[in-house]
Symmetry: C2
Subunit: 673 residues, 2 copies
């Protein structure tokens, strides 16, 4: 086994070891009062019940798809697929298990101060972050070694990761938003009781949702991104450097990224700062600096030039810029959110129009910078004279963005843990200072998460693009020509799919939320003394509604994403499928940005009004802003994030099935000819 | 001059003659009471004032662009550009002038019965319909003859038509929606007075808006579609048949379409049926049948086969199917609208989510049928062995859809005339039976217009696609290869533009509506006795707000559409520009369908609730539905329809400037290399 593969496996195991250590430290912390333990128990139980039921569906899916792959491709690819799927499930399980322990301990720690609470919450996030990257790199290195460096087979690992990610994101997203919308609309708006009030029957489901959607769903999502980016870089690196330096570079960069993440996590965790933002930033900057230095060193020592370093630096820079742009469109410190808040004065309709306009506008600059990233990383690697080298450059930009995924996930997952801690504090009637601390932690998490979103979107676009090139290489396409009407038809169909997919997921949230609303209304009506706090709400019923809806509704979009590319490939051939991938890539990235930013902007416009402007809480403007926020919920937490996975999943399906499609695709086309 | 050119000019003049005859008949009709004449006078005056101010801006634009064209291309092209622009303005002026006469006379006629009112309103629409096609075909035939059959020069005529159309659509759309939202939100919702109540200061602006947006804007829009489709077919027909039969076929088909339209108009107008739907349908079916027969005859006699006929039939059929699909998604007789109405029960947020989901879903089937239309019309003409012939087939499908544009416009423009008649009846306090008749006419118009929208969207996609092929031919591109990252970057940028354009236009409506709302609130507050009906509202102030906002806000989107393709072409070259057109085509059609259908569905969900379900008028569900309708207004009447023009305008800009771009484009690309 080569040194870099051994190193990858060892560093992957180290990351997992650190994760276990942090997890033990969390378990050892004080879990608070009996009431706190009881509530945390409900949440943990609801979350685990959801996961186990979800796994039953996924097991069937994995078996069926593995059988198909084994039949039409190879048993090795099927094994890789199973490996990717199972590792993805492990990453999600690990993250959620620790998150549902860390939430209550964060609440307890918050009774003693900010830095204590930050330490627990951030450790919870870090367990998932290090779990994701550790499982990812170790799994890929093992698969690469076992299957004799045949990257076509290892791609199956990516397919497993991507398909589980889509189900987890869609299922988790529907779960969390159905519960959230139900809890808010009936509890806050109709009954006038505060957020997370124990009288609200949907409040446990709401807190479970934060875990299954924002923690487990997000973990599977980033596992998929991480694995996908590395696979695309391995594929193109093997083409660009037949001697193997390309592959070595990619693995070594990932190793450096994981070490950087571990150091960054330790740094942020040990910070004694009372300012959580400063603690998170210090960790993030240190991690980033280590990766940059490592990229320069590796580029020079393996390729004898800094070309690859520049591609990676371009990727990192574009990711940071997109993160900053995201913040400008979604933070109340800037004009867009203020404009939405102002339009709330003339009612919900103008609030919605303004938010949609912000979301649509906000596509421009990120897309432009993605394009700049593509152009720079392509040409800096010499793409003008050697196309394959240029494409490798694009994939390196994506790997650069995702190298510190361990840190990104830690920061991202810490938000929902703090949010949950606040919920537990509220439901356990802890003193208001505790809630203040968890709110502060939560809001810092939101800002930092914006940067993470920039990396997620940017890397999704670049990774999909690199996978797209890998696909074309595998099926031996020399052009994907838009002047061929069949390719253009592929493009049209591909561009339509993100819209259909968005519609499906939004409608699922609408349906599930409708059921939830009816149930909460029913409980308020039929359980005597509930609103007066004398009777107990039936939490379990609401948890069941969210669970059943999420599992039922995740199937169709998931199947669509896998079947659509195969259908187009078999009917119209590999070039039309290339067009389809291009179309879904462009439209998917746009819709994802629109939804994420419109949702974020509405959310913060509401919070901005709650801070006292335009009449503050309870005013007509506030009601309009709540409507905007409710529309934005499925945008930013269900449909939008799933879009990033959709485009990569469709691309990787095409890539894995490329050999079959190249041999047997284009049935309908042959008929026309 | 060839016989077919003489015929084209003669038939064009005949269409204009019939239009003048119908216009005289309308002028001769009774214009009702003094109060009716007064109100109609305000509307006529406001509409004309807007047009004249708009023309001042357009004149500057025309002169500047003509100078640029004369400098960089040729004086002949500049003359064609001016011709197209001026003819487009004439079509809009003609239509609006007659519409603002027909409205009051329709109201008066409605006092005597349904068929009398239908006759006037439909004649008003027919004047514009025949004006559009008469000016279009005569203008093109003259240009084609004068500039010696040089289609590259004649394309300038299309550029003139398209650019004026964009300004007219955007300006008119902003005008009408600002007035509508302002009148509705303050008048209906806040003050609780009925629609078109004379106490509402924005009511005249609202009725003016129907004319400048739905009549003049729509006229310029369809003039552009008609001219664009014919130009693309002429360009590709000249390539496919160097002997000239292709060109002859296109002109002759247009001639047959105009004659069919005249006959259809006469038939619908003379119908004595008390059922306006039946009258309109009879005219439409007869017109369609004549075109089908003519296509078969011409195809056989000119080409010796029915191939071209099948391409045209495919286009017509796809247009009709898309129309039917549109109806399914937007009519209260079907599930989607009912689902939105049901979601209104849980408030405005779920109404919005449901409507957006319907809009996103509704993109799928139309796109699929557009793709089928492309595939069939391409392969039926032998595209598998002769690509040029296949592309000509695609352009013929578009021409087929638009051949009866005269009838489509007549039916489309009759709706706003009936709507205006209702407003005048209300403001003049005519008996409620009159309003019932005009409402009935209006609602029939809405259904029939859905089919027209199907043709508009389908033909826009096919025309843009054909123009795109013409562009590639002119700049001598053999491929537009998505595997080239620069082309893919073009695709990304192109797909982003419809989103940015949509954001711009929606934000403009939001801004203008905000001003309007403030003004109406101010008048209610500051004019003593206004709400009691004792004082007169200051209509002129509201008209001024809409006018100023519309003219100010139409500039940026219009300039964007013209500058963007030139910028990409000059910086990144003709292939990247090809990618950009492909991207904007796909995304633009999708966003256009989404917006049109979501807007239509919200509108009808509101009307469905008003018919008495879910609590009926005044219920909470109704309020939520009104919010949906208000969000849908700029969707369906401003941003959505402008999207169709945007994609064609960008393509035709590329086509006209193709020679310059081929010679000097790709500056930045050369730098990278």
């Amino acid at each position: 086994m080569s040194t870099y593969l051994i190193l990858s496996i060892v560093v992957g195991l180290v990351a997992l070891g650190v994760a276990v250590m942090l997890s033990n430290a969390i378990s050892a912390a004080n879990a608070g009062t009996a009431r706190m333990k009881e509530i945390a128990g409900y949440i943990h139980e609801g979350a685990m019940a959801f996961l186990y039921r979800e796994y039953k569906y996924l097991a069937i899916f994995i078996v069926v798809v593995a059988a198909i792959i084994a039949t039409f491709l190879s048993v090795s690819t099927a094994l890789c697929f199973i490996g990717g799927a199972v590792f993805s499930i492990c990453a999600g399980y690990l993250g959620m298990n620790v998150a549902t322990k860390a939430n209550v301990r964060t609440a307890e720690a918050a009774r003693h101060g900010m830095s204590e609470a930050l330490k627990i919450a951030f450790s919870g996030g870090a367990v998932m972050g290090l779990g994701v990257v550790g499982l990812g790199i170790a799994g890929l290195a093992v698969a690469y070694f076992v299957f004799d460096r045949n990257i076509d087979i290892v791609t199956g690992f990516g397919l497993g990761a991507s398909s589980i990610a889509l189900f987890a994101r869609v299922g988790g997203g529907i779960y969390t938003k159905a519960a959230d919308v139900g809890a808010d609309l009936v509890g806050k708006v109709e009954a006038g009781i505060p957020e997370d009030d124990p009288r609200n029957p949907a409040t446990i489901a709401d807190n479970v949702g934060d875990n299954v959607g924002d923690v487990a769903g997000m973990g599977a999502d980033l596992f998929e991104s991480y694995v996908g980016a590395i696979i695309s870089a391995l594929t193109l690196g093997a083409v660009a450097y037949p001697g193997g330096e390309g592959v070595e570079f990619v693995f070594m960069l990932a190793v450096a990224g994981i070490l950087a993440s571990i150091i960054g996590v330790m740094f942020a965790r040990s910070s004694k700062s009372q300012n959580p933002q400063a603690a998170l930033n210090s960790g993030t900057y240190i991690g980033g600096a280590i990766v940059i230095a490592a990229a320069a060193y590796l580029s020079n020592s393996l390729f004898g030039s800094l070309d690859a370093f520049w591609a990676i630096a371009a990727g990192l820079l574009v990711g940071m810029i997109i993160g900053k742009i995201t913040e400008i469109y979604t933070s109340a410190d800037f004009g867009s959110v203020k404009k939405i808040a102002q339009q709330s004065e003339t009612g919900p309709a103008t609030t919605i129009i303004a938010g949609l306009a912000v979301g649509m506008y906000s596509t421009f600059w990120p897309m432009l910078f993605i394009c700049i990233g593509v152009i720079v990383s392509f040409f800096v690697m010499g793409g003008a004279t050697n196309g394959g080298m240029g494409l490798f450059g694009i994939s390196l930009a994506a790997v650069g963005m995702l190298s510190t995924t361990g840190l990104t996930v830690a920061v991202d997952a810490y938000g929902p843990i703090a949010d949950n801690a606040g919920g537990i504090a509220e439901m356990s009637e802890l003193p208001p200072e505790v809630r203040e601390i968890t709110d502060k932690l939560d809001s810092v998490g939101n800002t930092t998460a914006a940067i993470g979103k920039g990396f997620a979107i940017g890397s999704a676009a670049l990774t999909a693009l690199a996978l797209f090139s890998a696909y074309a290489h595998t099926v031996n396409l020399t052009t994907i020509d838009l002047l061929n009407p069949v390719t253009l038809v592929g493009l049209f169909i591909g561009a339509t799919l993100p819209f259909v997919f968005g519609a499906m997921t939004m409608e699922s949230v609408g349906k599930a939320a409708y059921e939830m609303i009816e149930e909460v209304r029913r409980q308020f009506r039929e359980i005597p003394g509930l609103l007066e706090g004398k009777a107990k709400a039936d939490y379990r019923k609401c948890v069941d509604i969210s669970t059943a809806a999420a599992l039922h509704e995740m199937i169709l979009p998931g199947v669509l994403a896998i079947v659509a590319p195969l259908l187009i490939g078999f009917l119209f051939g590999t070039e039309a499928l290339g067009g389809m991938i291009g179309g879904s890539l462009a439209a998917g990235v746009l819709v994802a940005i629109l939804m994420a930013n419109a949702g974020g902007a509405w959310d913060n416009a509401k919070k901005y009004i709650e801070s006292g402007v335009h009449g503050g809480k309870g005013s007509e403007a506030h009601k309009a802003a709540v409507t905007g926020d409710t529309v934005g919920d499925p945008f930013k937490d269900t449909s939008g994030p799933a879009m990033n996975i959709l485009i990569k999943l469709m691309t990787i399906v095409s890539l894995v099935f490329a050999p079959v499609l190249a041999a047997h695709g284009g049935i309908l086309l042959n008929f026309f000819k």
